[in-house]
Symmetry: C2
Subunit: 518 residues, 2 copies
């Protein structure tokens, strides 16, 4: 049994049974090993950003790391941005990166690069296997690392000869790394702070959905504190019946306003809120100057235990969390102008229970949130790493993880272009994903950002870096080119029909929405 085979068997024994892949020659023994293990689901992406983003989306829904298969330093480079996003969102993944055979490394072969440099710059754990017998134990450690601290980036670099040389056999799963917990006095202090006037419980990670969101909601109900979260979270449960968590906005000055009266912030599963970017004469962080910050439980610590201890300390008991009401959803008037708000209303009216919304409509996306808030219960993904080009790959991963749920991916025409190759994987795997493209013909966000830096007149060089007109992108053609059915709508009535059709069918579908700004 060679090293590659022992790794596949180790992964399967450790519960890692999905592999998003874009392999090359140096991974051929791994491909051969996968080939004899059909119980490992292999999903091809035609670009590595699609691979790593899919692993992120898969983790967000399952809490389980997937493996990725990447080709040397440049292949990892192509996946870099979505590894960054996954890391910022505390998703676990195991990157298997093929390297040249160790004895070949002293030559300057074309694909030789600083594989340790590039992988270390965005991984929590990196290991280069030293020989074939190390591959299986290294693989077991990679699984443990990817699951540690609520999810980490584990990267295992396999020189080709360690894959093809003879090894001993697979390695058994390792005991998981124990999560850190706050001290009892910290729990008591936080509990006291939460009952003070102007208190907020600021949550993240697993506290944003399911039973832990309920628990956080009970603590808030019992103490009267505000229950808050960042805007750019990995996954949050929303819609009718979800715990009502107040989210920050994108502009830092709006967040300053939102947090003006907050005097005690207790953090569980989240770090301190921070401005997405710094601007001249604007603050880097939005909290009030006299706000007391209590970092009780970082995103890497034991969120469940902390919330339970906090609930007990405040006597939350069976206090009822504040839930989002169902707003009777009504489709917009078919003759209303086609704006992003209108898209939100139309979507809210037809969206099925349990949908997964992967939001990367950078400017238009904000307008969706109001209408969607009180639609049917759903999970909402944001991009905690901020590198655009995450949505289509995330949608792939979420759909692989939850084949019974509808995935909806609102995108800007600018952002979707970064990883449009994921459309092909949606078609290949027949994933139940509805992609919405807000065709606003440019990087609208940057127009606002240029104004933020004080430029009000836009000349040719700037204009040509913001708009994606001349030529216009034709998303119906792009989708069809990848094997995905698509339609373009220019009026609200057509949008309502297209959305109804998309919700009624299974499989990938793309709607290009010709709409202006909110």
């Amino acid at each position: 049994m060679n090293g590659a085979e022992t790794l596949v068997k180790t992964f399967l024994a450790g519960g890692v049974d999905v592999c998003f892949a874009n392999p090359g020659t140096s991974e051929m023994h791994f491909v051969a090993a996968l080939d004899t293990h059909p119980e490992m689901r292999c999903i091809l992406s035609l670009f590595e950003g699609g691979v790593t983003g899919a692993a992120d989306g898969y983790f967000r829904m399952t809490g389980k790391p997937a493996a990725t298969l990447l080709h040397l330093a440049p292949g990892f480079g192509n996946g870099y941005a979505n590894v960054h996003n996954a890391r910022k969102g505390h998703s676990g993944m195991i990157n298997v990166v093929g390297e040249h055979a160790d004895y070949h490394l002293r030559y300057d072969a074309p694909l030789k690069g600083d594989i340790e440099g590039v992988t270390r710059s965005v991984s929590d754990w990196v290991r280069v296997s030293m020989d074939a017998r190390s591959v299986a134990p290294d693989g077991a450690e990679a699984i443990r690392a990817a699951q540690a601290r609520n999810g980490q980036i584990a990267t295992l670099v396999l020189p080709a000869n360690t894959a093809w040389e003879e090894a001993d056999g697979p390695a058994a799963p390792l005991a998981p790394v124990k999560l850190h917990r706050p001290r009892p006095d910290q729990i008591a202090g936080a509990a006291e702070a939460l009952t003070a006037p102007g208190a907020a419980l600021f949550v993240g990670g697993a506290a944003l959905h399911g039973p832990l969101a309920q628990l956080a909601g009970r603590i808030s109900a019992r103490t009267g504190c505000r229950l808050m979260a960042d805007l750019f979270v990995s996954r949050i449960e929303r819609g009718a019946g979800a715990v009502d968590i107040e989210c920050l906005h994108y502009p830092v000055l709006e967040n300053v306003e939102i947090l003006r009266d907050v005097k005690h912030m207790v953090f569980v599963g989240a770090g301190q809120p921070v401005a997405f970017f710094a601007y001249p004469d604007r603050p880097s962080t939005p909290e009030a100057p006299d706000c007391r910050m209590l970092p009780l439980c970082t995103p890497q610590m034991d969120i469940a235990w902390t919330l339970e201890a906090l609930a007990e300390a405040v006597g939350a008991g069976e206090a009822a969390p504040r839930l989002i009401d169902r707003l009777p959803s009504e489709a917009p008037n078919p003759s209303a102008p086609l704006t992003p708000d209108c898209v939100g209303e139309a979507l809210a009216a037809v969206m099925p229970e349990g949908a997964i919304i992967v939001n990367e409509a950078v400017t238009a996306g904000a307008a969706l949130l109001g209408p969607l808030r009180q639609a049917a219960r759903h999970d909402l993904f944001y991009n905690p790493g901020g590198a655009i080009g995450a949505s289509l790959p995330l949608a792939v991963g979420a759909a692989v993880a939850c084949p019974e749920r509808k995935v909806i991916a609102p995108n800007g025409d600018g952002s979707a272009m970064y990883t449009l190759q994921s459309l092909w994987t949606m078609a290949r795997e027949e994933l139940d994903i509805c992609v919405l493209i807000f065709a606003n013909r440019g990087y609208q966000i940057l127009r606002g950002e240029l104004a933020n830096v004080g430029v009000t007149e836009v000349g040719r060089n700037a204009e040509r870096m913001f708009n994606v007109e001349g030529p216009e992108l034709d998303w119906v053609a792009l989708a069809r080119g990848h094997g995905v059915e698509a339609v373009r709508v220019e009026e609200t009535g057509a949008l309502i029909n297209a959305l109804a059709g998309a919700m009624a069918k299974r499989g990938p579908f793309l709607i290009e929405i010709a709409c202006g700004q909110p």
Copy 2:
């Protein structure tokens, strides 16, 4: 004048007047500065791999570095693979990477990453500007670094505040770094070796085209040595009238055969040839065991001086280099089966003088080389870094550099998918590029590589990682989606017509060629 403005002025003063860009918020002051300097040509790519690959192609044709504009660590990550390729081909470029304002870095903002880690892993020179007044001198040093040693990757990281804060003014260009030269005794030794039986002059870099190729050809004619080069070179002049340089092949065992009788190899502008990958039981390098290797002048040294010294030492005088003859090009029979050879013949028949061929047809491309060898004189790009996804961006850069020359980019359907967004830039800039897609429906190269590792039966997991069928990519739709006119041909007659049409018109055009293997 702020830091960003001083940088733009410093670049223009230093002859850097093209900027390939995919900016974000942290680069807005730089965008504003570019906006007031229309003499800097700004070219937008919708994906960063398109940015960095274009800078590479631009350098290959001009010998001048372009600037790139990239957005933080993930933006650089997206451009990583083509920076790698450029570095392996010794192309110079100046990457300007926006970073968070320095005082904002202590917060964990979404886009904060290890920007020094990722940039250092693939750059020859990295500088993080410390304040606004350092930006201009750092920019002048970046230009010098990008031009040093025949071309390097220089990366300048600009914290946003160094761009917006007040600075002094632009910096004057710096004197270039002097190139190293071999010692006289090394020249004499090499000259002697070249006259021995079984000698080869193995050249690279600037010795592969123009007057230096002529000089190398004269040395070879005078001494009787073979004149050779690697296959994966950055740029080589070929076609009728070009100096006849014998190139190695891809499979290492074929190269062992080619080099069997070479007993003395003198290297000028090139390193030792090496197998693209290592395989069990195959050598890492192809030279004969008793071959004497003389590394006279590395790719980073003074190639022109070395060749002149060598020519003088061997008394090359006006010896006539062996040139490639013109083969009367004849289009294939329109009813012949549509194979890659046939595509090569059809292209050779219609290709205009001075075309630039950017070859990334991974498997089909080899078949083109025979027919093209004796076509009209042209420049041929290979990918010295081996990371696929270079061709379309390189074509953009070459077309920007040489607007009067036809650029032809043969691609595999697998390789072109990595950076297909460059099609849009071709349309936006009305670049005179003809893209050929060999639609062989998969990563054909990997089928061969799996066989190379001893696997003869391909199962479902492997098959689904090699083919890109189910669904088939529709390149005509993909091109049109990006605003590029396109046609699909399935027969030789149709191909001949399509190529004739493409050569007669200006502007981007894509031909999807449904053809089998050679």
